[in-house]
Amino acid sequence: MDISDQLETQKSKYETITVEKQIPLQYDLALLAAFDTNALDESRLKNDRDNYLKEYARDGTQLLINQIFKLPITSSEMGILAELPEQITVIPREKPLPKPKPPTRWERFAKAKGIQHRKKSKMVYDEATGEWVPRWGYKGTNDDGANDWLIPVPQTEDPFEDQFSKKREAKKERIAKNEARHKRNIEEAEAVLNQPKGADTRSLRKVELQRQIAISKTATASIGKFDKTLKGESKLKGVKRKFEPSIGDVRKEKELSLNILKKVVGKKGDIVNVRKAIAKRDQ
């Protein structure tokens, strides 16, 4: 039985989906875009612009939809999905490509020595207790016997020294050292990422440290004049301490003090939050 005739009659009931164009359209289906370079009918555009544009857009849209419906299809819970091809049109990015993270000191050392990362399981078997315990962290194995109930005093050590606190201190020190290194790594990485051309990390770090020293000096009334000097510390330039005269204008002094009070207490001078205070009293 030939059903092609039936199909034809079925089709002819509806309007066609084919559109004739002199120059075929270009498509960028990743953007769902079609580009038509055919010439428009100028007389129609002048006399019946909106209708003509709509008709023209319909034809173009039909062609675009035809192309989209030809794409490979997968059906899912969301509906029928068409797989889009690679984008052809180049659209500029919003931000530059991310820079790769600079390696830490350890990573550089490991690379130079050819040390490769081996994956270790987080839990290790503790033979003494017969249990699985974490390699590090809470209840971990690397506490170096800090939780032991008895520690033998080494022969060379002072017998009256507290070995427990000694171990605790040693661990604290190790942690602090590690943290300092972590901080240094971060600072160095930041300096590498943000450095202007030609500047090295060492000098950038030096400048940053000097800035921090200058900030810390403001903590004392003398701006660090009588502070203990650090090793190799240079004298700060351009730092002046201004002293007000101890006898002089009373009004000016009052104004100054009031200004400070205003800054501390608040602009409106509301020291007490009345609503809160009432609520407190009613309790």
């Binding site: 199909l7 079925q10 089709k11 002819s12 009931k13 509806y14 309007e15 066609t16 989906i17 990743a30 953007l31 769902l32 875009a33 079609a34 580009f35 038509d36 370079t37 055919n38 010439a39 428009l40 100028e42 555009l45 002048k46 612009r49 909106d50 544009l53 709509k54 023209y56 857009a57 319909r58 173009g60 849209t61 039909q62 675009l64 939809i65 035809n66 989209i68 419906f69 030809k70 299809i73 997968t74 969301m78 509906g79 029928i80 999905l81 068409a82 797989e83 889009l84 690679e86 984008q87 049109t89 180049v90 659209i91 500029p92 990015r93 919003e94 931000k95 530059p96 490509l97 991310p98």
Partner: protein, 322 residues
């Protein structure tokens, strides 16, 4: 320049991480902003264009005296950094340049491209009493006219419109989610001479239609359009494009996204996949041909090795049947 913020808690850290440069970028957000003086037409145009861009759009409803993108870009840089946006539409209205819109896109906090257009024959979204498309749906684009191919200004304007409205980059698209089409037609004809002395030749018709699907008797439906609005005729006035170095930097493709070149497999113009296979040199001496007495190896052909092998194997004697 904004001060670099150091996150104090995990939430702000996450928020800052979202703003960092990434290989797969976020959707570009747009700010719709008013200059020092605007009129009703420009305000409506800004709000309508903003509605089309929603949800990745921020509408600034106060007027801003300091925004003159072609002279000074400091306030734009500030807004860009503060809101993490890279697209701007600035509306203004003055005697010199009436009904003015400036489309701006930025890269790395600096202005990349700017195109200024004057609006003619504006019809706002509210004037069309038809059904609108849902928010956040990817539009279809239709660019008509050879100006979009031949003129650099129009080509960039096309690219900018695509940049503004294409939305999220996706691998799959829901076929039932194609609701509207943005049709942009550019023509440079004698009948459309401009009265605007500051405009470059040519006119751009910006139209938005909703799509209705009808039965066609085939798998692909028949398409009918209905104008949804807004509708504008644009005249391009001033423009400023990025220099080549910056543009190159902005269009760099990350290494991961570059498709790996597959050796020896080509696709020709007809779309046929053609593969090349390399075989070693064929040893024709061992080729099995028809056996003939004349081609049999003679004793001279045998090497010493062959002869040794033959000696090792004792000849099998045929036993006589007793």
């Amino acid at each position: 320049m904004l001060k670099k913020i150091k996150p104090k808690n995990a939430r702000s850290k996450r928020a800052l991480q979202k703003r960092e440069p990434k290989i797969e970028e976020n959707v570009k957000k747009a700010i719709f902003i008013r200059s020092s003086s605007t009129n009703q037409l420009v305000n409506e145009a800004l709000s309508d264009l903003c509605k089309l861009k929603k949800p990745d759009a921020i509408s600034f409803t106060k007027k801003n005296n300091t925004i003159h993108p072609f002279d000074d870009d400091t306030s734009l840089n500030f807004f860009c950094e503060k809101n993490d946006t890279s697209l701007f539409v600035i509306g203004s209205h003055s005697k010199k340049r009436p009904n003015n819109l400036t489309f701006i896109r930025m890269f790395d906090g600096q202005i990349l491209d700017m195109v200024e257009v004057g609006i003619e024959n504006a019809k706002p979204l509210s004037e069309f009493k038809t059904s609108k498309c849902a928010i956040g749906i990817k539009p279809l684009f239709l660019f008509v006219g050879d100006l979009f191919e031949n003129s650099l200004v129009y080509k960039t304007f096309k690219n900018m419109l695509l940049d503004f409205y294409h939305g999220q980059t996706v691998k799959n698209i829901n076929l039932s989610g194609l609701e509207h089409v943005i049709s942009v037609t550019a023509i440079d004809s004698s009948s459309e001479q401009s009265s605007d002395p500051r405009a470059i030749p040519g006119i751009v018709y910006f139209r938005v239609y909703t799509i209705q699907y009808k039965k066609s008797g085939e798998k692909t439906p028949r398409v009918e359009l209905e104008e949804m609005g807004p509708s504008y005729n644009f005249r391009i006035r001033r423009f400023k494009f990025a220099n080549d170095d910056v543009y190159k930097l902005a269009t760099r493709i990350p290494k991961i996204n570059k498709p790996k070149k597959i050796k020896n497999i080509d696709v020709n113009e007809m779309g046929d996949k053609i593969g090349r296979i390399h075989l070693g040199k064929q040893d024709l001496s061992k080729l099995q041909t028809r056996k003939m007495k004349g081609l049999k190896r003679t004793t001279e052909d045998y090497t010493e090795v062959d002869l040794e092998e033959m000696e090792e194997i004792p000849p099998i004697k045929k036993q006589k049947a007793s």
